[in-house]
């Protein structure tokens, strides 16, 4: 990491720093001095040899004092507003509000203070940085969470270009109801493909502020020379069986409630286990990297005497080994599997679906039918159309280079 006061000629590019975007860090670092807002990203980037500025290096007594004073003033206003907030919360739910909503004064000021402290400190550090260095722009992988959205809002208030490179496609249907994932606050969106462009246009983002670049997080799937063939994947995973099913477990999305939640997940898991026995297959459970405890999967396999294994990593091995992928909901792993040549189907979830006729889909009860259709579709050219809709860089890859090129153009 370079020292904060080190005067260098390059302009500074702000990034939040989620690892999903690390593919384009190195390319961008050739044109800018990178500054990550996430402290973990700063450490990680330095460990892989990507030079960056340490934002926390700007922390001093004045910055700390300013952030504390601002957050204290905000909390003071929150105390005064507690009764108003209680009234607003209760009025939205017609008597079905949880108990906590009846007494906002017991938690509201502290809740606001917690967020205010984090955002005020981030803002004060960015201001210190901007006092000594020219900031060229800002790139985020999403702009809905408090730290990323406040970063984007801070930049926009100062006329600094903001660019959103979505880390994944959101598969909410148009009739799926209101959802924060339809929103973007950034000036520009670098979309993975036509689907993502249309998704954000439908959410109100101007079409002329969206450029299609492909999905940089999927570039690694095009390095076929280092990816295992099916036989190699099965050998490494110690699977000696004619039929293999890969089940992509899900994660708990915490910003919305739809469908039937836990019972939906349990129904899906048991439908896949039934399918495994019907096909006399081996089941690979590829749990989600952000998912919870995998013990529920292990217990289910034991309880049903199902041959299988569970892994949170090694996606290319888990998917390539399988005849078919079954996903819990329209997961983005279906796109990754299609790039790797493995057909898929998914168990539907309320409000969500892919916008293409593929992958095959059904409720848990009908899984056996669509899984067979998916298995038989291996090699169907329609899968290529499906991939291109979600990743315009297909079939070559190279979205990382497109992102770097576009960022340079937009941050001139």
């Amino acid at each position: 990491m370079s020292e904060p006061n080190n005067q260098e000629r390059k302009r500074v590019l702000l990034l939040y720093g989620h690892p999903v975007g690390q593919g384009y860090w190195r390319g961008l670092s050739e044109h800018y001095d990178l500054c990550f807002v996430s402290p973990q990203a700063t450490e990680y980037a330095a460990s892989i040899g990507v030079p960056c500025i340490n934002l926390n290096g700007f922390l001093n007594g004045d910055v700390q004092e300013h952030a504390l004073n601002v957050s204290a003033q905000i909390a003071s206003q929150a105390v005064k507003n507690s009764d108003i907030i209680t009234g607003r919360l209760l009025s939205q739910f017609n008597g079905s509000a949880p108990p906590e909503f009846h007494s906002a004064q017991d938690w509201w000021p502290g809740y606001v203070l917690q967020h205010a402290q984090a955002i005020a400190l981030q803002s004060a550090l960015l201001t210190q940085l901007s006092n000594v260095r020219e900031i060229a722009g800002c790139v985020v992988h999403e702009d809905v969470a408090p730290d990323t959205r406040s970063l984007v809002l801070w930049c926009k208030a100062r006329g600094i270009p903001t660019i959103h490179v979505p880390h994944a496609a959101c598969h909410l249907r148009a009739d799926g109801g209101s959802d924060i994932h339809r929103e973007s606050r950034s000036d520009w969106i670098l979309a993975s493909g036509e689907y993502e462009r249309d998704f954000y246009v439908a959410g109100g983002h101007p079409m002329n502020r969206i450029a299609i670049v492909g999905a940089p997080q999927m570039d690694g799937l095009y390095a076929d020379e280092v990816l295992p063939a099916q036989a190699e994947a099965r050998r490494v995973l110690d699977i000696d069986n004619e039929r293999v099913i890969c089940y992509a477990g899900t994660w708990s999305q915490t910003t919305a409630i739809r469908g039937t939640g836990l019972s939906e997940m349990n129904d899906g898991l048991h439908a896949v286990i039934d399918l495994t026995h019907e096909w006399q297959a081996v089941l690979i459970i590829k749990s989600h990297p952000n998912g919870g405890d995998d013990k529920v999967y292990a217990q289910a396999l034991r309880d049903t005497n199902t041959p299988g294994l569970i892994t949170r990593h090694y996606l290319s091995y888990a998917v390539r080994a399988a005849d078919v992928l079954v996903a819990q909901g329209p997961s983005n792993i279906c796109i990754e599997a299609a790039i790797l040549g493995t057909p898929s189907c998914y168990i539907q979830s309320e409000g969500f679906d892919y916008a293409h006729e593929l992958p095959f889909r059904s409720n848990a009860e009908q899984l056996s039918i669509v899984a067979r259709e998916a298995r038989d579709s291996r090699g169907d050219p329609a899968w290529q159309d499906f991939i291109r809709l979600y990743n315009a860089a297909h079939p070559e890859g190279g979205a990382v280079e497109a992102v770097v090129e576009k960022v340079i153009e937009l941050c001139q």
Binding site: R88, V112, H115, S150, R158, W251, A256, G259, S349, G351
Partner: protein
């Protein structure tokens, strides 16, 4: 539910979203040109969704992520 018909949970989801979009209006909680209400909206949705799920007896109030 694949046909788009709404469950009680998705109807409450709409209420949460509108609440999170409007509850800061007029409170003037600004930090250095950052609208704190807008910045907190995602977390408000997360917390509210979990609280409402608990009212219904579902400890894992969330939906499967996609």
């Amino acid at each position: 539910m694949a046909d788009g018909s709404a469950t009680m949970r998705s109807e409450q989801n709409e209420a949460i979203y509108h609440m999170a979009s409007e509850w800061f209006v007029g409170l003037d909680l600004m930090i250095d040109d950052i609208d704190l209400g807008d910045a907190m909206k995602y977390d408000v949705l997360r917390v509210s969704g979990r609280l409402l799920g608990r009212v219904q007896g579902d400890e894992r109030a969330e939906q499967p992520g996609t």
